[in-house]
């Protein structure tokens, strides 16, 4: 039976893992290779590296990170952040990434999804969607800032519940998240990484409603992200949200729970897990 996956997400800035990772037994908690190795030993099913380097001059640093991690850690590796073109996708895959995650660039140029999927196969194209619940009152006031680039078929309307955000959640797009995920799947996204902007960092649970709506609409695997605070949250995303994988950062990095504990807990709830 296909198992559900647990995926730790590591933010990388200028070649170093950031966001307060604190494991006592690591020599250098910021070393991507050492952390990847550690999580692999712990039973992580995949790893996501998110390049949060602001300056484009530092992009090559990420390539070196991917290169060295993939020489020593033999589990699937997804790289996201700052990937803008088919040649960016190619460079990351050639450096050792198994999948790339497209977010802002997919919104600016949806054709990038199709071109990348055609070149490299759907299986290595993850589309990351940052979704936020629409605040009805604010929505009315700021309706005009939707970009003119947006395909009108995807635009938010009265019944829309979630809107797509880009630039790390800083910018509205005027795009309906549920329409967007169907659109990107048709273009060739092989997997969706769905982050609830409302839940992210709150540790109060994933947005289950968002996940289950999305799972009903698409047939590609869905990774739940944003909001994990307890091990039961991980189970809810799978059981109620129908997600195929759960991504989490803080609860693993801060050592609140180990991946092994998370897996045992999920297994005890009857969720198929690779122990």
């Amino acid at each position: 039976m296909l198992t559900k996956r647990i995926i730790p997400c590591l933010d990388v800035d200028q070649g170093k893992v950031v966001k307060g990772v604190n494991f006592v037994n690591l020599k250098d908690a910021g070393d991507p290779v050492e952390l990847a190795f550690f999580y692999n030993q712990e039973g992580a099913d995949e790893l996501v590296f998110l390049d949060i380097t602001a300056s484009s001059d530092e992009r090559n640093t990420m390539i070196n990170v991917v290169e060295s991690v993939s020489q020593q850690v033999f589990i699937p590796l997804t790289v996201g952040g700052g990937i803008r073109s088919v040649s960016d996708v190619r460079v990351m895959l050639e450096s050792g990434a198994d999948k790339v995650s497209l977010n802002t660039a997919a919104v600016s140029d949806p054709n990038l999804i199709k071109k990348s999927a055609d070149h490299f196969g759907n299986q290595c194209i993850v589309v990351a969607v940052d979704a936020r619940r629409i605040d009805r009152e604010k929505h009315v006031n700021s309706q005009n800032d939707s970009s003119s680039l947006i395909n009108p078929d995807l635009a938010i309307e009265k019944s829309t519940e979630w809107e797509v955000f880009i630039y790390g959640g800083r910018k509205r797009t005027g795009i309906d998240a549920l329409k967007w995920i169907q659109f990107v799947t048709e273009l060739g996204a092989g997997e969706l990484l769905v982050t609830s902007m409302d839940s992210d960092g709150m540790q109060s649970g994933y947005d289950i409603q968002l996940l289950s709506e999305i799972s009903k609409l698409v047939s590609v695997p869905v990774i739940a992200s944003g909001g994990a605070g307890t091990l039961d949250h991980l189970c809810e995303a799978i059981v109620d949200g129908k997600a195929d994988a759960v991504l989490a950062a803080s609860i693993f990095h801060f050592g609140t729970y180990s991946i092994r504990q998370a897996k045992q807990h999920m297994n005890s709830r009857g969720i198929p897990i690779r122990l």
């Binding site: 039976m1 296909l2 198992t3 559900k4 996956r5 692999n40 099913d45 993939s70 020489q71 020593q72 033999f74 589990i75 699937p76 895959l93 050639e94 450096s95 050792g96 198994d98 490299f120 196969g121 759907n122 299986q123 290595c124 092989g190 997997e191 047939s219 590609v220 695997p221 195929d244 994988a245 690779r274």
Partner: protein, 209 residues
């Protein structure tokens, strides 16, 4: 043969995962060349045929590089061979994924997953060996391997099947015939179990060259 490193040739035809296959075997101490030249690939102890992408683009790329016949000959001469993912599927006669005929080394076709299952079949699933083979030495009884694929090979001769995996229904996740082994899963992405599988393959080659 015993003291020399095994020399592997990875067939280069622009498949996206060949670098990770190379890294895994290099990590295990094998001498690896990645090449699209048949005369270079003819000098190796074992041929590795990786692959991701689509049936037609793979067959066209292999045809363009004049690699089809050399690969067929290599297998027909029963030299050690490992197919991975699409490198298993292409050994069949045809694929639902495209119009280009495959190698036709084994009778049977490549089919798309249907029914209620999500496609691609992506993630860790169990591999159940149906008979004994050296490549499964020292592994758990029903080991987990990493899969990423939308199509699967369905060989007519069920004696070829070396292992099955359950995804909606059972499909052949590994086949073997003589010195050929071909797997649908990705050992190079299956952690320590996957590395052990590759180590076993190297051992298998050592015994058979």
């Amino acid at each position: 043969m015993s003291r020399k490193n095994i020399k592997l040739g990875i067939i280069d035809y622009a498949a996206s995962n060949l670098r990770s296959v190379e890294k895994a075997f290099t990590h295990l101490g094998a001498d690896v060349i990645v090449s699209s030249k048949s005369e270079e690939l003819d000098k190796v102890d074992a041929l590795i045929f990786p692959g991701q992408g689509s049936n037609d683009s793979a067959m066209q790329a292999l045809d363009k590089a004049s690699l089809v016949q050399p690969i067929v000959d290599f297998v027909k001469n029963d030299r050690p061979f490992l197919g991975i993912c699409m490198g298993l599927q292409l050994l069949m006669q045809s694929s639902e994924e495209g119009i280009e005929p495959c190698f036709g080394l084994f009778d049977g076709s490549v089919k798309k997953f249907s029914g209620k299952m999500k496609v691609p079949h992506m993630g860790w699933n169990q591999v159940l060996p149906t008979r004994k083979h050296q490549v499964f030495n020292n592994l758990p009884i029903e080991p987990y391997f990493y899969f990423v694929h939308s199509y699967y090979a369905d060989p007519l001769d069920k004696n070829l099947v070396l292992a099955t995996t359950d995804y909606g229904n059972k499909f052949a996740s590994a086949i073997s015939y003589g010195n050929l082994v071909a797997v649908q899963f990705h050992p190079e992405k299956s952690g320590s179990i996957g590395l052990e599988f590759y180590r076993n393959f190297l051992q298998f080659v050592k015994v058979n060259v």
